[in-house]
């Protein structure tokens, strides 16, 4: 899975903001704000990743339990899916 092309993560006034550009404006109006950890994972997901790969990254980066990493990642991914931001490698 990865973030679809056409979503730009910007940091303005210490705020992480995702802006749709080009044709993505058709499917997503407005913007998304992310906290620093979500923004970090967003950047990690800008290239194709497996679920377990992201979990491993989170454990290494934030020194958290595997269960906590899995739970938090599921929440984030479900929000991303809900907004049609992710694409999956067929």
């Amino acid at each position: 899975m990865k973030i679809k092309n056409g979503y730009l993560l910007r940091t303005i006034a210490d705020t992480n903001i995702v802006v749709p550009v080009s044709e993505r404006v058709i499917e997503f109006k407005g913007m998304i704000t992310l906290n620093d950890v979500s923004a970090d994972i967003w950047r990690f997901l800008e290239t194709e990743r497996e679920f377990e790969e992201v979990v491993t990254y989170m454990i290494a980066e934030y020194s958290i339990d595997k269960e906590v990493a899995k739970r938090d990642l599921k929440v984030l991914l479900s929000q991303m899916k809900e907004n049609g931001i992710l694409e999956y490698d067929k």
Binding site: I12, A13, I26, K29, M31
Partner: protein
């Protein structure tokens, strides 16, 4: 319609974020005035210039690459909302090139246009890469009104054609109308025409004298204070009744006037003399490449292409160091409800510290009307106030 609802939610979040940026002096909102040229010749326009007039003044519009360079610098400096305007921006031969470039950069883009030049070519461009918002200026609901205001009755047909194209583009469409003597009595018909395309209808009735070097008939065609108020009240009443019928009183108010004073935030941020976010979180790049706080402050400018974008932005507030509201204005009982921006004073009187009778009349007329409305609508409040006075006397 779904897009409009999302846009409304975003607008509310945007205001909060704008205040956050103003406190950090981040240039969140930019406007690129691509050209002062326009295919319309509106009698009240503050900006309109022909190619010949531009040449005669020894000036030139920025090139394609200069606009793209400024856009790149703006992104790096933190600009999120970018409004593209003119003149008529679609008049530039290189509009599509500039638009395609800046569209990829990460702005939330708005477009101001009179819609009359929208054709198949632009329809294809905006269908593929739609601006988040498009604001169309409408001048009338018939050919004769267009002839009297814009100089050509055919502009009406072309505008309607453009609006038909826009109807099918996935963008949030606003229609804005400036009222002058020529379209004053046509509010209902104009709004009816606008509502065929969008419920986002805004009115403007304040018409200022043109920027230096430009001639217009602003003073002879603009409405009196009483007429301005009448048209504002009439539009608000229409939408109030409509929203009451549909139970949407708490949603976006299409009747909100462009002329409502915006004092919710920014007043305590330097330079305090500016009562909006200009030079705090907003800027305007003029067609000849100067950075202004807004279109009306034509005399106060920095030079982003010469001194660098960030330097120009950082220097902008300093230009207002010596400017204060006129003493008469500060002492006035209407100070906090008046659109007493020094830019308006300058446009009207040629001086930042001279009070403008045009603005004063407008505010006094509104206050008089508000008081009448208050006493008509809330007799119970009046009674309560009288009781309090009696108690205090005791």
């Amino acid at each position: 319609m779904i897009n409009n609802e999302k846009a409304r939610a975003w607008e509310s979040a945007d205001s909060t974020f704008a205040a956050h940026c103003a406190r950090r002096h981040i240039p969140l909102r930019g406007t690129f005035e691509l050209t002062p040229r326009c295919n319309f010749h509106c009698k009240m326009c503050y900006l309109h210039q022909t190619s010949e007039e531009i040449n005669l003044r020894g000036k030139r519009e920025l090139t394609t690459n200069e606009w793209i360079k400024i856009a790149e610098d703006a992104i790096n400096a933190g600009t999120l909302n970018l409004m593209i305007t003119g003149g008529e921006p679609l008049l530039r031969d290189d509009f599509a090139t500039i638009y395609n470039e800046i569209n990829q950069m990460g702005f939330i883009i708005g477009l101001n246009t009179n819609a009359s030049l929208l054709d198949e070519k632009y329809y294809r461009l905006f269908s593929k890469y739609p601006p988040s918002t498009v604001s169309v200026t409408l001048y009338g609901a018939d050919r004769e009104t267009y002839r009297r205001i814009t100089g050509n009755e055919g502009h009406f047909d072309n505008t309607v054609k453009g609006l038909e194209y826009l109807k099918d583009i996935p963008t949030s469409l606003d229609i804005k109308v400036t009222f002058i003597k020529d379209n004053y009595h046509k509010l209902d018909r104009i709004r009816e025409t606008a509502n065929r395309y969008t419920d986002r209808f805004a009115i403007n009735y304040m018409v200022f004298k043109p920027v230096p070097g430009v001639s217009s008939e602003a003073e002879s065609c603009r409405l009196s204070a009483k007429e301005c108020l009448n048209i504002d009240i009439s539009n608000r009443k229409y939408y109030y009744e409509l929203r009451k019928k549909t139970g949407t009183e708490n949603e976006y108010d299409p009747a909100a006037s462009e002329n409502d004073p915006h004092r919710d935030y920014g007043l305590d941020i330097y330079p305090e003399v500016l009562t909006c976010l200009a030079a705090k979180a907003a800027y305007w790049i003029s067609w000849d490449g100067r950075m202004l706080p807004c279109a009306t402050f034509d005399e106060m400018a920095t030079e982003p292409l010469k001194e660098g974008f960030s330097e120009a932005w950082n220097r902008l507030p300093e230009l207002f160091a010596g400017i204060r509201h006129p003493e008469e204005c500060v002492k006035c009982e209407h100070f906090y409800t008046c659109p007493n921006c020094p830019a308006y004073f300058f446009a009207e009187t040629g001086s930042y510290d001279t009070v403008s009778p045009y603005i004063c009349d407008m505010v006094k007329e509104r206050t008089k009307s508000d008081k009448q409305e208050d006493s008509r609508r809330r007799p119970q409040d009046k009674t309560a106030k009288q009781c309090k006075t009696i108690n205090n006397t005791d």
